[in-house]
């Protein structure tokens, strides 16, 4: 009975953390909406320079990684440890691919001398400077979350192999899954706001 309550407590804590994360990104969304309202044309122009096909591809990768995560957890609960590990590995691979694509997108922009405070960018309209400032900080913060998620999932994989996460105590795995889905949800909002406005 006590153990049962601990599980509820652990999950409640995870949900509270998720809500606080939503508010963290929410603050940035408020900034975005105000600046976009003030500089509609520059946002329109600057967003047109982002690579929409790569952004779409990344959305598909992250959504698919959410699927493999959910399937990994349900297989684990059903006692199919091996297939659970395979799906966890797929999640890691998809998450890593997401980061790799994001890396190339950033490198391409930086190669064209568009990064916060770059002379090339400062020559442009103020709205475009703000757009790229928000682009780098919001996608950067999100990429940091993906990176943390990957490390957490990797640790979960090791714990599963070692048997520390097992059919009786799978709450850490479930909570890591919740975190991974949160990262997916944040991207679901970032994608249209940065890539799909023209």
């Amino acid at each position: 009975m006590i153990e049962h309550k601990e599980k509820i407590g652990s999950k409640t804590g995870m949900w509270l953390f998720i809500l606080s994360e939503i508010l963290l990104f929410g603050g940035l969304f408020i900034l975005y909406s105000v600046y976009r309202f003030k500089h509609p044309l520059s946002f329109h122009l600057a967003a047109g320079e982002l690579n929409r096909p790569l952004g779409t591809l990344n959305t598909i990768f992250l959504i698919t990684s959410s699927l493999t995560m959910a399937v990994s957890i349900s297989s684990f609960k059903n006692g199919k440890g091996k297939s659970s590990l395979v799906f966890l590995a797929a999640t890691l691979l998809l998450g890593f691919t997401f980061l790799a694509i994001k890396y190339f997108e950033w490198v391409e922009k930086i190669y064209h001398e568009i990064y916060p405070n770059s002379p090339r960018l400062l020559e442009r309209d103020k709205g475009e400077v703000l757009f790229y400032g928000l682009y780098y900080s919001m996608t950067g913060l999100h990429a940091l979350h993906v990176l943390v998620g990957l490390v957490v999932l990797l640790i979960m994989g090791v714990l599963m192999v070692k048997g520390k996460v097992n059919e009786v105590d799978f709450i850490p795995l479930e909570n890591s899954g919740l975190y991974w889905h949160l990262v997916d949800i944040i991207w679901i909002f970032l994608f249209p706001l940065f890539y799909l406005i023209r």
Binding site: H4, K7, I8, K11, T12, W15, L19, I22, L23, G26, F29, I30, S33, V34, F37, K38, R52, T56, T59, I60, I63, T64, S66, L67, M69, A70, V71, S74, S75, K77, N78, G79, E167, V168, F170, I171, E174, G177, L178, H181, L182, D184, I185, I188, F189, F191, P192, L193, L196, I197, R198
Partner: protein
């Protein structure tokens, strides 16, 4: 025993269907963005993003099936309403200044 407590099991078929819906919605939002609907474009994009996150929250994150954490079913929309309120109030200031 394994499923006791936390949440009722969801079949993998449902996960797969939710994934398909998410992909279809992504396709829809990308193709609608290509139409240049102007001001309506952003409304539709946000609406689709809202539906997508609702799907992830209800099915992948099990909120729909959660029996003990019933409070969170209300807290997630609560936080979203709070955010919309913040954005609304901010615009009240920005527009009328």
């Amino acid at each position: 025993m394994a499923n006791e407590g936390s949440s009722s099991p969801i079949s993998e078929k449902i996960y797969f269907l939710v994934w398909l819906e998410l992909l279809l919605l992504t396709g829809a939002t990308v193709s609608i963005a290509g139409m240049n609907l102007g001001r309506w474009g952003i409304c539709i994009a946000l609406l689709i993003a809202g539906i997508k996150s609702g799907l992830v929250l209800s099915y992948f994150m099990h909120l729909k099936y959660e029996k003990q954490l019933r409070l969170f079913k209300w807290m997630v929309p609560g936080v979203l309403v709070l955010l919309i309120l913040f954005i609304g109030l901010t615009f009240f200031d920005v527009v009328l200044r």
